[in-house]
């Protein structure tokens, strides 16, 4: 049986030690947030009216997409050094194409492995969204063009860029986008920055 004596500072320090030993985090050890979770939270806080992922959460990924023919990555400024490895963007804008949608096909859930194969992957916020073009400001590159701050998206067939399969690009909202050969990957790989999609990107592209 132990009794604390309170008339001297040593006992008060002892008290503090006693409390510190009960710090829940001392035993639990906080799992820190990933870089992208931090980025999304900060970006979302700065646009409180919207929130992450308009229309995304829990919605079924219906589909979109028939891979359209041609695309090309066009990096404004200077780009893809012909024949070199991978995207070598030196400009500040990367232009990607959205494949044509062919109605509501059902997609399988994207896998982390499938995601990892993409040359470009980023988290970005829609700065402007018009049928002609969607512009995203990149919050974080997971793969590819790390110098570019902005990505533009246009459809290959002239359809509205704001509607990409089940994904609707809304100004101020955050999206995760994966692309290869200049073409944005539909079918659940690209879409609103939901927590689960973010976790998939983190897993796929963590070093």
């Amino acid at each position: 049986m132990k009794r604390l004596h309170l008339d001297y500072d040593g006992a008060l320090d002892e008290l503090r030690g006693l409390l510190s030993a009960q710090d829940p985090l001392r035993h639990r050890g906080p799992q820190s947030l990933t870089e992208s979770q931090v980025a999304v939270r900060i970006a979302t806080a700065m646009r409180p009216a919207r929130g992450v992922a308009a229309g995304g959460r829990g919605r079924r990924v219906r589909v979109a997409a028939q891979v359209a023919a041609a695309l090309a990555v066009v990096v404004a400024a200077a780009i893809w050094a012909g024949g070199s490895d991978g995207p070598a963007a030196t400009g500040t804008v990367v232009a990607l194409r959205l494949p044509a949608s062919s109605g509501d096909l059902q997609c399988v859930r994207p896998t982390v492995e499938g995601l990892r194969d993409h040359e470009l992957a980023f988290l970005g916020t829609v700065e402007s969204a018009s049928p002609a073009e969607v512009t995203l400001r990149v919050t974080r590159w997971f793969a590819g063009a790390v110098d570019a701050e902005t990505v533009t998206l246009k459809t290959v067939d002239g359809a509205a860029a704001t509607e990409f399969g089940a994904t609707e690009f809304v100004g101020g909202s955050d999206y995760l986008v994966a692309a290869s050969d200049g073409l944005v990957e539909p079918c659940g790989f690209s879409g609103p920055a939901t927590e689960s999609r973010l976790a998939d990107y983190d897993k796929a592209f963590s070093k």
């Binding site: 009794r3 008060l12 009960q22 829940p24 939270r41 806080a45 700065m46």
Partner: protein, 184 residues
């Protein structure tokens, strides 16, 4: 100081937010479940952004914890409304102890903490768990360091007395729902 003046507000906010997220999140994780803590963290960042123009240079961390404290209280009000409804529905009596955080390992300390006032408890834990200085606690609570110092000293004495009284109350099995007399 001069360099900060030219830093765009959004960049400055982002830098500060990155700096303070670990300590704010730890503060919340000590007092809520992990899922609740992450929800409230998002609220804290939103409030910080709204109040960014009053962010005190050099005291951003304590200022952020002050906001976290408000958001925590708000989350608990919501939770306690839900809980009291559940308690009404299943005819449970409200809990005696007032410690609302995760259960502590040491039953004796836990009981002693339940016996001191919420205000004492908050001060003691800001100091012992969050490792804040008296000056930082003053910012969190919106008061002066002198006041914190005095209150903290008294809070320690009261906790010491509560600990003393719990060491005498040995048989834990009988205590359910019964208030023991607190030490004078």
């Amino acid at each position: 100081v001069g360099a900060d003046v030219t830093e765009p507000m959004a960049d400055m906010f982002e830098r500060v937010a990155r700096d303070i997220i670990p300590s704010v999140r730890s503060y919340l994780l000590r007092r809520l479940t992990p899922a609740e803590a992450d929800d409230v963290l998002s609220d804290v960042l939103v409030v910080m952004w709204r109040r960014r123009h009053s962010m005190p240079a050099g005291a951003e961390a304590a200022w952020s914890l002050g906001i976290a404290r408000e958001c925590l209280a708000n989350a608990r009000r919501t939770e306690s409304r839900r809980r009291s409804l559940v308690e009404c529905l299943v005819h449970l009596s409200p809990r005696d102890e007032e410690w609302e955080g995760p259960p502590l390992r040491d039953e004796r300390v836990s009981r002693a903490l339940s016996k001191v006032s919420p205000r004492d408890r908050e001060l003691l834990l800001l100091r012992a768990w969050d490792d804040l200085t008296v000056g930082e606690i003053a910012i969190v609570l919106g008061t002066t360091p002198g006041t914190v110092s005095v209150r903290l000293h008294r809070a320690k004495q009261r906790l010491g007395a509560a600990l003393g009284s719990t060491t005498h109350a040995v048989p834990a099995a009988t205590a359910e729902g019964k208030h023991e007399a607190s030490a004078p």
